[in-house]
């Protein structure tokens, strides 16, 4: 009888239920975004290895030109460049190197990011990033960045050699001594 007639119990049930629902709703609210599935391995394996390594062309001795400034309409591309860093990116590279010496690797990474925003296509910056990745122990990314530097600097004899030697060191760290040797035997490396 008490049970049947107790509006309070009913009210309690109702509100308790509501409360419970509210709690549940709060806990079980679906995450706003799906977590992405774990990433597949980078597609490096699928890419033809030799395709990313510039083949050995004869390195023509050509007059060295200044790194071209961005132009509004292209001229015929110069066959050889001498890349250098602008004062701003040079300052950032110095800063990043200082950070590496002090063991501030994330800071160095951020500094080089900043430099890349200023001169994204400068192979010298990519060489710096490759070195940093090597220091961090991310040898795979070090290799990729060195290859990026090689491609960007393919017309600068000295940049190419620097990037080539760095890449050879990285390949040795990856226990790919034969690849490193092949690279070092390229005519343009000497």
């Amino acid at each position: 009888m008490v049970r049947k007639n107790s509006p309070l119990i009913n009210a309690l049930r109702r509100s308790g239920g509501t409360a419970l629902l509210l709690i549940l709703a709060a806990c079980a609210a679906p995450p706003p975004y799906q977590m992405p599935a774990p990433k597949a391995e980078p597609v490096v394996a699928a890419a033809p290895k030799e395709a990313t390594l510039p083949p050995p062309p004869p390195a023509p001795a050509q007059p060295v030109q200044e790194a071209p400034k961005p132009v509004q309409k292209e001229a015929a591309e110069p066959p050889s460049r001498a890349f250098k860093l602008g004062p701003a990116t040079q300052a950032l590279v110095n800063q990043a190197r200082g950070q590496v010496t002090k063991g501030q690797l994330p800071g160095a990474s951020a500094t080089l990011d900043r430099a890349l925003r200023i001169e994204p296509q400068n192979p010298l910056l990519w060489i710096e990033v490759a070195r940093l990745r090597l220091t961090e122990g991310d040898t795979k990314q070090a290799e990729n960045c060195a290859r990026r530097a090689l491609l960007l600097g393919s017309t600068d004899v000295s940049v190419r050699q620097t990037a080539g030697h760095l890449l050879a060191d990285i390949l040795r760290a990856l226990h790919r001594d034969d690849d490193a040797k092949d690279l070092e035997d390229q005519p343009w490396m000497n």
Binding site: A11, G16, M35, V43, A47, A51, P106
Partner: protein, 767 residues
């Protein structure tokens, strides 16, 4: 006797029953209060008692040669809320004389340092920055401005909300709110009996409910937990919960929760919660920049956000605002002159332009989820440094807004449903930094984020992947003749597929460079079938598409569906010389102490042969020079590879392309897939072009990979030629040593000196 006994027994029964009822009622009440207490605490702990993460745009770097003009710098400083005045008087103040700026910067935390206020001088002109020096005259190689705050978010909840912290809230807003809604807020314990009695008296006099008499705490509780029904039961529950809330939390905590939670309106499906978002939504500026009239309007909205909706019912909103102002005057919060002045002002609803960037923040949240541990993100007071370029973002927003306005008048089927929509993403290809994201027509409000979620047929945007696949085999080059001729294909389901060119023309024998830049369907399908569908799908995946597209022959014409984000990822690999650069919007996340969380760094991965990518990109420059995208070349005069895309029946209009400094994609279409009557060139291209023309673009000018050489061929025939022989000559990249058939009388010498090339280029340009 029986009677007496019964009589005697009855009261005892009643007594027991009564006792039982009272006991259970008391227990029930206790349980009920306990429950409500739990609900209140749970909800508050989980939602608002942590400091939101602050999200910043990439800081602008100033250095000699940076393309920041004097006016750009001025805009930037104002955007950062620097005031004009004597820089000697304190941080956050600057003075400009022509192109000379004296700036006293604020104390500011960057990813890698905390910088104390410093005084600098910057010289800028119409081209960019000409010099920077510190106060003592030392030249500085570079200097970065404060990073612009673009939002406060809870990375884990991922809500579209601008969360205010106590420091963000202007004192005036609090005063207005208390005066209008709850004058005894600081004294009562959640429920204000006096105001309830006053409300009841008002109701009785009116004969129905006219006043709620709710405190801010009760309103907050109602907003959090309860429906809008006006019953005694709900009122009671609200009162109990309000009192429990007051028992657990301070007045300041409750007030800040209120300011962040209260309902201030509705935008389509989405509720506008909180004064932070309300201020951006209605006025397009942060809360601390509101004037009294604007603040009064927001405070007035609390009473009935949909009834007083200033966008839908401006007259009601104005009346309400002026009533609020009048009450503020009567309460001596504002003086009479201020009230009169404020009442005379227009509503001042938001103008168009950059500010709150919900679509970009949406990408930031997803990248945070992708790259960081959820436990780390739940920490209070994080600082999130993003890659947003406010200048590029503003350009993309303007382009979408202005072009949609124009396209609205020419698109087909425009009256048959929701209006035409658009999306755009701009990124820096080499490092994969996302600079701008526009998710739809209303750039200030995050509804459906088309840039990230609209998966649509990409049409001919797929063609560069087909041609790249061909070039990578080594059996094709830009001069290879393809056959553009009708074909019929029996599909597995028995149907016959007979693709056609857009113009229904048939072009016969055409060199690859022309087939691609004029987007010929028949030639492309024939080529793709020769290569095999799996090979083309492989290429798309290598370039960064994270799903395997369905292998239908029609995939070669772009029935494959992709989001703008997926498209730009693929095009970034092309822009990046065959290296995939994983797109990212987050540069770093710092915790409350300024320590970097384990973060996601720049990542590049070789994805395709750089030689083949160079060749296809060089071909794609013809799209903007003489092909379907020539309007771009005509306006920008910068060499850039690009591609138009149009899906079947003109349902989707796409344009994607890149320069040496930017890669961008634009999409235009209807959400329900109605045909728009727009091609890639008439719909998305103008959006893309408008945005890109505002940026400081660097020409696409990569070094020619060593395995490739640049040669001149005739656009129509593919025969080797020289610019002096043919107005039809185009420069293409072919594998070094490729034998090209030459037109008689105008062969190309086997090797050409630079001087000759420059000369022939000049001749071509002059003619």
């Amino acid at each position: 006797m029986t009677t007496t006994r019964t009589v005697w027994m009855l009261p005892r029964k009643v007594l027991y029953a009564l006792g039982g009822i009272i006991l259970i009622a008391a227990l029930g009440l206790l349980g009920w209060v306990f429950y409500l207490d739990g609900v209140v605490q749970h909800e508050f702990k989980g939602r608002l008692w942590s400091v939101p993460a602050r999200v910043y745009a990439a800081p602008t770097d100033l250095y000699v040669g940076a393309t920041v003009t004097a006016d750009d710098l001025d805009t930037e400083l104002r955007r950062l809320h620097y005031r004009i005045g004597d820089p000697g008087s304190g941080p956050g103040i600057y003075r400009r004389k022509g192109g000379d700026f004296e700036i006293n910067t604020r104390r500011v935390r960057f990813v890698d340092e905390m910088r104390a206020p410093v005084r600098i001088r910057v010289h800028a002109n119409a081209e960019g920055i000409a010099g920077i020096e510190s106060a003592d005259g030392t030249e500085l190689p570079l200097f970065r401005l404060d990073p612009l705050l673009i939002g406060s978010v809870f990375p884990v909840h991922g809500e579209d909300r601008i969360v205010l912290t106590p420091n963000d809230v202007p004192e005036m807003l609090v005063t207005f709110l208390k005066t209008i809604e709850d004058r005894r807020f600081d004294e009562h314990n959640g429920v204000d009996l006096r105001s309830i009695l006053r409300a009841i008296w008002a109701d009785v006099r009116a004969g129905h409910m006219v006043q709620g008499g709710s405190t801010l705490t009760q309103q907050l509780v109602k907003n959090y937990f309860l429906t809008d029904e006006r019953t005694f039961g709900r009122k009671l529950k609200e009162a109990v919960m309000a009192m429990r809330l007051e028992a657990h939390y301070t007045k300041e905590e409750i007030l800040i929760a209120y300011l962040n939670e209260i309902d201030l309106g509705q935008d389509g499906e989405r509720a506008i919660h909180g004064f932070g978002l309300g201020s951006e939504y209605y006025f397009g500026k942060p809360i601390d920049e509101l004037e009294p009239a604007e603040m009064a309007l927001l405070v007035g909205l609390v009473k009935g956000p949909s009834w007083y909706d200033p966008l839908k019912h401006p007259d009601r909103a104005r009346t309400r605002r002026n009533l609020v102002l009048k009450e503020l005057g009567e309460a001596k919060v504002l003086d009479a002159a201020a009230v009169t002045r404020a009442q005379a002002q227009p509503l001042g609803l938001r103008p168009a332009g950059a500010g709150y960037v919900p679509a970009f923040l949406d990408l930031v949240r997803r990248h945070l989820k992708r790259d960081y541990a959820e436990a780390d993100l739940a920490a209070a007071g994080l600082s999130i440094y993003t890659t947003l370029d406010p200048h590029a973002q503003a350009a993309a927003e303007r382009a979408v807004t202005n072009q949609l306005k124009r396209l609205d008048t020419i698109a087909h089927n425009r009256s048959k449903g929701a209006p035409l929509e658009a999306a755009m993403i701009i990124a820096e290809p080499t490092s994969g930094q996302v600079l701008a994201v526009v998710g739809g027509r209303d750039t200030r409000f995050l509804g459906f984020n088309r840039a990230l979620d609209a998966r649509r047929s990409i049409g001919s945007l797929v063609k560069p992947a087909v041609y790249l696949t061909a070039l990578e085999t080594g059996r094709y080059n830009a001069a290879t003749i393809l056959l553009d001729a009708p074909l019929e294909l029996k599909l597995p389901d028995g149907q016959v597929w007979a693709p056609q060119n857009y113009t229904h023309e048939v072009f016969g024998s055409v060199p690859m460079v022309r087939a691609l830049s004029e987007s010929m369907n028949l030639a492309t399908v024939r080529l793709g079938l020769e290569l095999g569908l799996p090979a083309v799908a492989d290429t798309l995946q290598k370039l960064g598409l994270e799903r395997r597209p369905a292998l239908n022959p029609s995939m070669l014409l772009g029935t494959v569906e992709m989001t703008p984000l997926e498209v730009i990822q693929v095009y970034t690999a092309l822009a990046n010389g065959g290296f995939q650069s994983r797109l990212r919007s987050v540069q770093a996340v710092l915790d409350e102490d300024g320590k970097a969380l384990k973060s996601f760094k720049l990542e590049v991965t070789p994805a395709a042969s750089p030689a083949a990518v160079y060749e296809v990109s060089r071909m794609m420059t013809q799209v903007t020079e003489r092909g379907t995208g020539r309007a771009v070349g005509a306006r920008l005069h910068v060499t850039m590879p690009a591609k138009t895309g149009t899906s079947s029946d003109l349902r989707d209009s796409w344009f994607a392309g890149f320069t040496g400094s930017h890669v961008a994609v634009a999409w235009v279409g209807y959400d329900d897939n109605r045909p728009t009557g727009l091609t890639g060139a008439t719909g998305a291209l103008p959006v893309w072009l408008d945005a890109m023309s505002e940026l400081h673009l660097k020409a696409w000018q990569p070094d020619t990979p060593t395995e490739v050489e640049d040669r001149w061929i005739e656009f129509s025939s593919g025969l080797a030629t020289e610019p002096r022989c043919s107005a039809d000559a185009v420069l293409v990249g072919v594998p070094r040593g490729t034998t090209l058939t030459a037109r008689q009388g105008c062969g190309q010498p086997a090797s050409e000196s630079v001087v000759d090339r420059v000369k022939s280029w000049l001749e071509k340009t002059v003619h």
